[in-house]
């Protein structure tokens, strides 16, 4: 393969945009994924990513910015979940399941009713190659905002995730931190929607964090690592999709999964091989200890 061929994607404007926008979204999602995985909000991320679909549809029909519709829809779903959870003894995962599928179903129905205006495929699977300049601007704004909030508040959010009771005992605004994390989750979901689509957003928000978790025991490092993994896989995935002529979202998430598998097997402490080594060491040491 010649160098010219390898550099070919960079000669198209739409590819260049797709590459750097994907990288940016990958980095932001990866950064946030550390909090989502440790807070145990993975299911919540999945739910929000589906719940934004009717918002996207309605915004498109009304000629409003898609991000606005998606964001509103996601927050409505989150509010509905906490309301239903508060008022019924139904378990949380069931509540989340009921609410997000309701939103998603409404979205699908809406799209099928207006097939001329709405493209089901691009909402569900994303279409980064055809992203409009206005959407790029929104994406950048959302990303900058998320990174800024996390940079300023990550230690508070860390305490809130690890030990909310201690946060409360210290007089930290726990409810506001909860809302902050929820807003960040909704905003990044909306941002990532256009890159990989509603279905695969959740992978961007979980897999890098889960992978980083296997690689380090320090929270700060986990955030940096998750972000780096997210950025790299998004870039490489978008790049590979040019040659494979496959879905960008699919390429990105497959790469992220590969990264997770590598960490799962070769992780220095939590990997399968490390665990086996530790067991073997224990077996070697044990007879020496016995009298």
């Amino acid at each position: 393969m010649s160098l010219d061929l390898l550099l070919q994607p960079f000669s198209y404007d739409y590819m260049l945009t797709a590459l750097w926008v994907s990288t940016l979204i990958g980095a932001v999602c990866g950064l946030l994924s550390g909090f989502i995985t440790l807070k145990g909000w993975s299911l919540m991320g999945d739910a929000l990513s589906h719940a934004v679909v009717p918002g996207v549809g309605l915004a498109h029909l009304a000629g409003l910015p898609l991000s606005l519709g998606a964001f509103t829809s996601g927050l409505l779903a989150a509010a509905a979940m906490s309301f239903v959870k508060l008022k019924t003894p139904v378990r949380e995962d069931a509540v989340i399941g009921v609410v997000f599928t309701a939103f998603f179903a409404f979205g699908i129905l809406l799209i099928s009713l207006f097939p001329a205006q709405l493209d089901l495929k691009s909402i569900i699977f994303g279409n980064i190659l055809a992203i409009a300049p206005g959407d790029v601007a929104q994406l950048v704004a959302i990303s900058v905002l998320c990174v800024a909030v996390l940079a300023l508040q990550w230690r508070d959010l860390l305490l809130f995730s690890f030990d909310p009771n201690q946060a409360r005992t210290l007089g930290l605004p726990v409810r506001r931190l909860h809302l902050t994390l929820l807003l960040l989750l909704s905003a990044t979901t909306v941002a990532a929607l256009q890159a990989v689509g509603a279905i695969l957003v959740v992978a961007m928000l979980i897999t890098p964090g889960a992978t980083a978790y296997l690689l380090t025991d320090r929270f700060g490092r986990m955030l940096v690592l998750g972000s780096a993994l997210g950025a790299f896989t998004a870039f490489a995935g978008a790049y590979a999709s040019y040659f494979l002529d496959g879905a960008t979202g699919g390429c990105i998430v497959v790469l992220q999964t590969l990264g997770f598998l590598l960490a799962f097997v070769f992780g220095p402490k939590h990997g399968l091989l490390a665990a086996r080594r530790a067991r073997r060491r224990l077996c070697l040491v044990a007879p020496a200890v016995a009298p």
Binding site: L38, L86, R168, L170
Partner: protein
């Protein structure tokens, strides 16, 4: 008015009633008051409202009637000043979280830091002091899940120390902890009491209460009794608090024979037994701090 930095704080609950959103009334009209420089046990069966009272003291639940005050300030104000420190039960903590011992103890210092929570020299010193005091300095870089049961408990005690909490609440500190760690924690709590701190320990381990708690709050849906251990910890009161939930073992005159030197040994697998004398008064294993009480009893008898 703010009490002077070194003056011990007071903790008071006045007519505290807690009703949960589902209508369950967990606690009714609970009233007690404590002054600093004390280790007080909060004793009651499961479901007696013990943890609810704890939550009310920490401001996690808002009483539907009555109020909790700390040196006449509402709980919220006390929290902002970093007065209240909390040592959680081991089950409440996610031990797989990617934080090390030092990180967790540093979380006690958040109240002293600025908006960005970047530690200063004073914060590092406080954390180092706290870690040395509980004997975990050498393990400061360990991920918290790699600690033993006793070490895990001490991390959170160290966090309360680093916070310089003046009201320290410990939730079941001795469950799942070996005897050696229990003794180490008790020794540390006694030091903290001597420094004028108010320590409240929720426990169902009756036997250890007389050993280190000078006061007791006995609860069963309300405060049944509160005051010095020797007055509150009587057979009658405990019967009221626990009902039929306690196993009884009367060592009758035939067991405690003269030829045994009037000495019997009680063995239990886990918790310390509570031993009461004739008429239901407390028997202390270590009488050194209670000579006056024993002398009074002798005088009363004759």
């Amino acid at each position: 008015m703010t009490p002077a930095p070194d003056r011990p704080l007071t903790l008071a609950a006045r007519g505290v009633t807690v009703t949960y959103p589902n209508g369950h009334v967990a606690l009714t009209d609970a009233t007690f008051a404590l002054g600093g420089g004390t280790i007080c046990a909060l004793v009651g069966v499961n479901g007696s409202g013990k943890s609810t009272l704890f939550k009310a003291l920490m401001g996690f639940v808002v009483p539907s009637a009555g109020a909790v005050t700390i040196s006449d300030e509402p709980v919220r104000t006390a929290q902002r000043r970093g007065w209240v420190a909390y040592v959680p039960q081991a089950e409440e903590v996610d031990w797989t979280f990617p934080v090390n011992v030092h990180d967790v103890v540093m979380m006690g210092r958040y109240g002293y830091m600025n908006f960005l929570r970047i530690p200063r020299a004073a914060d590092r010193d406080a954390v180092a002091d706290a870690l040395r005091r509980v004997g975990l300095w050498d393990l400061r870089d360990r991920q918290i899940g790699e600690l033993s049961g006793g070490q895990k408990k001490r991390v959170f005690v160290a966090r309360a120390l680093a916070q310089q909490g003046r009201v320290i609440l410990l939730d079941e500190p001795f469950t799942g902890v070996d005897v050696k760690t229990e003794e180490a924690i008790v020794a540390l709590l006694r030091e903290l009491r001597a420094e004028g701190r108010l320590i409240l320990v929720s426990t169902h381990n009756l036997g250890s209460v007389p050993e280190f708690c000078d006061q007791v709050v006995l609860i069963n849906r309300t405060v049944l009794a509160c005051g010095p251990t020797s007055e509150v910890f009587t057979a009658d009161n405990l019967q009221r608090a626990f009902g039929g939930a306690l196993r009884h073992f009367d060592l009758s005159r035939s067991t405690v024979e003269e030829h045994d030197g009037r000495q019997v040994t009680v063995l239990t697998d886990d918790e310390r037994p509570l031993v009461l004398g004739q008429g239901g008064h407390l028997e202390y294993r270590d009488r050194s701090a209670h000579e006056k009480l024993v002398a009074d009893r002798e005088a009363g008898k004759t």
